[in-house]
C-alpha cells in the first residue's frame, strides 16, 4: 500500500499524525508498504499539486480508490475502519490484557 502524509512543520498534531501513520503501516501485513511524509512548509508545490488544504492529511493512494483523511489520526481504530484495514491484532490484544 502507498500512503502520503502531509504535515505543517513541527507541532503537536504533526508529530501525532506521523507517529500514528507509522503505527498504521507497521500493523499492516506483509512488506513493501510505503509512507511518504511531506512537510508543506518545505514543499508547498507538492501540496499544491495534490490540492491539500488541511494539515495533517493522510492520502491512501494505492490501491484505489483514493482516500483522504484529515486530522492527527489519533483514533486509529476509526482510521483503520475508514481505510478498511484489518484491526491491529497483537497490540489490541495486549492492551486488552492490561485492563
Amino acid at each position: 500500500m502507498k500512503f502520503r502524509l502531509f504535515i505543517c512543520g513541527e507541532n503537536t498534531s504533526s508529530n501525532l499524525a506521523v507517529q500514528n501513520a507509522r503505527r498504521l503501516i507497521q500493523g499492516l501485513n506483509g512488506n513493501g508498504h510505503d509512507l511518504e511524509i511531506i512537510d508543506v512548509l518545505e514543499n508547498p508545490e507538492i501540496a499544491e499539486e495534490a490540492r491539500i488544504l488541511a494539515t495533517p492529511t493522510l492520502l491512501k493512494e494505492d490501491p484505489a480508490p483514493l482516500r483522504m483523511l484529515v486530522g492527527d489520526l489519533s483514533d486509529l481504530t476509526r482510521v483503520r475502519s475508514i481505510l478498511q484495514l484489518p484491526a491491529e491484532v497483537e497490540h489490541e490484544k495486549n492492551d486488552g490484557g492490561h485492563q
Binding site: 502531509f6 504535515i7 505543517c8 512543520g9 503537536t12 498534531s13 501525532l16 499524525a17 508543506v40 512548509l41 508547498p44 508545490e45 501540496a47 499544491e48 490540492r51 491539500i52 488544504l53 488541511a54 494539515t55 495533517p56 492529511t57 493522510l58 480508490p65 483514493l66 482516500r67 483522504m68 483523511l69 484529515v70 486530522g71 492527527d72 489520526l73 489519533s74 483514533d75 476509526r78 482510521v79 475508514i82
Partner: protein, 505 residues
C-alpha cells in the same frame, strides 16, 4: 488624532467611489452574498483590475470552481487569466474539490497547507492582491466552526504579513438577516461588503453595500450594480457622484432662437433640461431641434429613444425639415432605439452610459423618460435619473430628457415630481384651450443659476418645425389649461420682459 489608512484603488467601476477611495491596504474584506450574487465575478475582477490597471499581481484561491472552469467562464468578461498566468501575474491556489470524494475528519487539524500554498504562490508572482472564493466550500467540508474561525484568522494574518490586500467571499442563505452562513466569518475580517440580488417587480435588482470598513469612511446603503459582458461589475454610486458635479457657465443653443432668448441666452452646457408635456405637445420636436441645433455647430449628438421606432423618428424629423439620415451619415448623429421592457433599469443605465462613452457626443436627448419609468421600480427609476444626470454632467454633455404628462391639459407627471429637483432646467409644453380652440403653450418653469423669462408663449408647429410666438396676453390660469381672460393687462407696468431668477430647485 487619527491617521488615515492607506487605500488601494480596486479599479472596479463605481466601487471606489462607494468606498470613498478604495479598500484599506493590506487588509482582508469579506464579500458575502447569496448564490448567484456575482461574488466570484467580483473576486476575479479585483485581481483582473489590479493586473490591468495597476500592474499589481494577484493570487486566486479557488475552493469551489476549478481553475480551468474559471479560465473559461471569465474570458467573456475580457479577462484572459491564462495569459496572466503565463506572464507571471496571476497564480492559482487550487483547492477545488472536483473529482475527489470528501475528506474524512480523523482528529485535530489546521489549514497549514492552505496557508503555506498561498504564501508560496504569493511569493512566486509577488502578489499585492488575493481573492479567496468561496469559504462555503471549506465550511461544508470541515464542519467545525471554531476551527474555521481560528484558521481564517491565521490566514488573514498571513496575508497581512505578506502585504496583500484580499477579498474573501462567503455564501449567505438569505438576502437580509445574518451576514454569513456560519455567523462567524464577518468578525474575522476588517471589512465587509454585501452583494444582493433580490427580486423586485419580477426583476432581479443587484445591489452592493459596504457594511463595514474598519477605521475608514465609506458611503452607506445599497447601491445598484450591473454585470455585463466584456466589462464585469459596474456599480452606480449615486449619492457619491452627485456631489462631485461641476457646472459651467458656458451657454449653448437649445436649437431654437426664441427659446434661447427665453433662457437668457441659451442653456448651460453641463446641464440637464427636462421637457414636460402631454402627448402631441411637441416634446419629440423639441428634442429633434435640440439635436439639430448641436449638429449645426458640428457637435456630435446622441438620441436615445424609448418610445418610437427608428423609421418613425426619421419620418417625424423629415416632417419638421430635419434630415436625420444625412446627419447620421455625416457622423454627427446617432439614434439608438431601445425597448424599455427588455431589461432592468440598471442595465438600461449602463447601456446608456456605454453608448455615450462610445459615441462621445456633446448632446444627448432621451425620449422619453416616462417610457423607462414604466419599466421599473420608482426607486430604481430615480436612481437611473440621478446616475444618468451625473454621468452626463461629468462628461460635459448637455442633456435633454422628455417626460409625458398623463392629462392632456395642465397637470404634472409622476416623472416630473420624481426628478424635477435633479434637473437644472424645466420647460413645460401645455395645451391651452382658448376661445374654443386648442393652442400650444411653452414656458421655462425653472432654470438653475440663471435668469429666465416667466411668460407663457404660444407655440406653433408646421413643416418647418417649431415657431414660438408672443406670450399669451391678458390671460390667467394658462398652465392649468383653463385660462381666464383678464380685462386689464396683468402686469401693472405692462412690461413684457418680466424675469425670474431661480436660485435653486
Amino acid at each position: 488624532m487619527t491617521i488615515a489608512l492607506e487605500r488601494i484603488i480596486t479599479g472596479i467601476e463605481g466601487l471606489d467611489a462607494i468606498l470613498e477611495g478604495g479598500l484599506t491596504r493590506n487588509r482582508a474584506t469579506l464579500v458575502a452574498g447569496t448564490s448567484g450574487s456575482a461574488k466570484t465575478v467580483l473576486a476575479v475582477q479585483f485581481l483582473a483590475e489590479g493586473i490591468t490597471k495597476f500592474d499589481e499581481p494577484g493570487v486566486f484561491v479557488t475552493l469551489e470552481e476549478s481553475p480551468d472552469d474559471l479560465r473559461k467562464n471569465m474570458i467573456g468578461f475580457g479577462w484572459d487569466i491564462e495569459k496572466w498566468e503565463r506572464e507571471g501575474k496571476w497564480a492559482f491556489v487550487d483547492a477545488s474539490p472536483r473529482g475527489r470524494e470528501q475528506p474524512i475528519v480523523a482528529g485535530e487539524f489546521d489549514f497549514g497547507a492552505l496557508i503555506a500554498r498561498v504564501k508560496n504562490a504569493a511569493g512566486k508572482v509577488k502578489a499585492k492582491r488575493a481573492s479567496i472564493d468561496t469559504l462555503a466550500a471549506v465550511f461544508l467540508t470541515y464542519k467545525d466552526v471554531d476551527i474555521v474561525r481560528r484558521e481564517l484568522l491565521l490566514l488573514t494574518e498571513a496575508l497581512k504579513e505578506l502585504k496583500i490586500t484580499s477579498l474573501i467571499t462567503v455564501e449567505r442563505l438569505h438576502e437580509y438577516g445574518e451576514i454569513s452562513r456560519f455567523g462567524v466569518e464577518e468578525f474575522v475580517t476588517d471589512n465587509v461588503i454585501v452583494l444582493r440580488n433580490p427580486m423586485e417587480r419580477e426583476r432581479r435588482r443587484r445591489t452592493i453595500e459596504v457594511l463595514k470598513l474598519r477605521g475608514a469612511n465609506h458611503n452607506k446603503g445599497e447601491f445598484p450594480f450591473c454585470v455585463t459582458t466584456g466589462r464585469g461589475i459596474a456599480a452606480i454610486p449615486l449619492s457619491a457622484i452627485e456631489l462631485k458635479q461641476h457646472s459651467s457657465n458656458i451657454r449653448v443653443t437649445s436649437g431654437n432662437d426664441i427659446l434661447d432668448r427665453m433662457c437668457n441666452g441659451g442653456v448651460f452646457r453641463d446641464s440637464v433640461i427636462l421637457v414636460s408635456g402631454a402627448t402631441g405637445t411637441g416634446k419629440t420636436l423639441l428634442s429633434t431641434q435640440f439635436l439639430n441645433g448641436g449638429a449645426a455647430k458640428n457637435e456630435r449628438c446622441l438620441l436615445l429613444a424609448f418610445e418610437e421606432s427608428r423609421e418613425q423618428l426619421f419620418r417625424n424629423a423629415q416632417g419638421w425639415g430635419v434630415d436625420f439620415a444625412g446627419l447620421e451619415k455625416a457622423g454627427l448623429l446617432k439614434v439608438i432605439c431601445m425597448y424599455p421592457e427588455v431589461r432592468g433599469l440598471e442595465d438600461h443605465l449602463l447601456a446608456m452610459r456605454m453608448a455615450i462613452e462610445e459615441f462621445k457626443p456633446k448632446r444627448v436627448a432621451v425620449d422619453s423618460l416616462s417610457a423607462l419609468e414604466r419599466a421599473g421600480h420608482p426607486r430604481g427609476f430615480r436612481e437611473l435619473i440621478i446616475g444618468l444626470t451625473s454621468f452626463i454632467k461629468t462628461k460635459e454633455i448637455t442633456g435633454l430628457f422628455t417626460a409625458t404628462t398623463s392629462t392632456l391639459v395642465g397637470g404634472a407627471s409622476i416623472t416630473e415630481t420624481h426628478i424635477s429637483t435633479i434637473t437644472d432646467t424645466i420647460i413645460l409644453l401645455r395645451y391651452v384651450e382658448l376661445f374654443g380652440e386648442i393652442k400650444r403653450g411653452i414656458t421655462v418653469l425653472k432654470m438653475r443659476g440663471s435668469k429666465h423669462e416667466r411668460e407663457i408663449r404660444e407655440m406653433l408647429i408646421d413643416e418647418h418645425g417649431m415657431h414660438i410666438k408672443e406670450p399669451f396676453r391678458r390671460l390667467a390660469g394658462v398652465l392649468s389649461g383653463n385660462p381666464q381672460v383678464l380685462s386689464e393687462p396683468f402686469s401693472p407696468d405692462g412690461d413684457s420682459h418680466a424675469e425670474a431668477y431661480s436660485e435653486d430647485g
